[in-house]
Subunit: 211 residues, 2 copies
């Protein structure tokens, strides 16, 4: 499984770097410095250089980085040649927004199937993605290992257990419930209410520079 020496903080920034490099490449830019990149992605330039350095010497002193080369490097590092299929569970307000959004642009990830319990939704297509009944997980999951969870919080634990039983080992959880999973399953929580509240908290309690 390669050298997992790369700090987690770095790993989280990789997709961000990748996207901006892709933008630059499409704009026809040939070279970029850590300083420029820093301004674009709002990450300190020393941090960017440090991040890149975990993968070896990718740049050239006095010049910067070759966009195309760096992009190719990240493409393979982020496994952008192979496509990862993702299932979405809970095609409600939030889930539907995700289904309608094409994550695919510059991206190797595709939501290819959705599951819901509502019979009005089951059997329909949302932007080309078929919606199956949650009881069909077993037949329709077909080896998909990653799921986006957008069901009501009260259902989160039950659905999680089902998903894990069917072999899912990665869950992006949008419900406010902190779900319990076995050790071999990784969960990332995105808690929108908490994000909003903590932003407000920071505004009130952490004064910023007066410009």
């Amino acid at each position: 499984m390669e050298q997992n020496k790369i700090p987690q903080a770095t790993a989280k920034r990789l997709p961000l770097y990748y996207r901006f490099l892709n933008n630059l490449n499409q704009q026809g830019k040939k070279r970029v410095s850590s300083k420029e990149l820093s301004e674009a992605v709002k990450v300190d330039s020393a941090t960017i250089r440090r991040d890149f350095s975990y993968f070896g010497a990718l740049g050239k002193k006095g010049y910067g980085y070759n966009v195309e080369y760096l992009l190719g490097f990240f493409r393979s590092t982020l496994d952008h040649h192979e496509i990862t299929e993702v299932a979405l569970v809970g095609a409600g307000n939030l889930g539907t927004a995700f289904l309608k959004y094409s994550f695919m642009k510059n991206n190797n990830i595709r939501i290819t199937k959705a599951f819901d319990a509502d019979s009005n939704k089951v059997g329909t297509d949302i932007d080309g993605v078929p919606v199956y009944h949650i009881d069909e997980l077993n037949e329709k999951l077909e080896g998909t290992r990653v799921a986006i969870l957008t069901v009501p919080a009260s259902e989160a634990d039950v659905i999680t257990e089902k998903l894990v039983n069917e072999g899912v080992n990665g869950i992006l959880n949008f419900t406010p419930a902190r779900i319990t999973v076995p050790n071999h399953v990784r969960v990332h929580h995105i808690d929108l209410a908490v994000e909003l509240q903590s932003l407000v908290y920071f505004l009130k309690h952490y004064p910023l520079d007066k410009e």
Copy 2:
């Protein structure tokens, strides 16, 4: 502005604690230990105790924490008595999902107005929230200082500038663009594509325990 000695990592967890304490309280629970809380929110119990300790000695040795007391404490710390109004800009797929979601439960934050450029949307109500034209920011913002940004990435910078000019100093940015703001404005980015990609990256490169 009180003692901003509280670590940022702690501040980010406060709304999470608050929500779970609220749940416990509604369930009629009178006391809770850092260990129980830890299992519920998936944060190490020592971290929880440390977090709480920044606010003084809130618990009792051998007993734990009194739910009601702790809840009251957090309510005032998180300013849960006063309501913060938030504006949403870009009532598209994602924006509409937010408008339909009641953040209000257990929460002091309310999305009270939305702005869009689409004339089909302007003038309508989405779940009771009026949608105004983006050109009406000046008249309709009425002192709102926090905004959720769910416009297309290409519009992000222009809209941000407008918002900042109108006095907004906190932005929750869902666009993939890393927006540029003056020092006195705080931006939190939620980059859903990055979250999904980094989850997939971790799954491939960071082997987990085999249970």
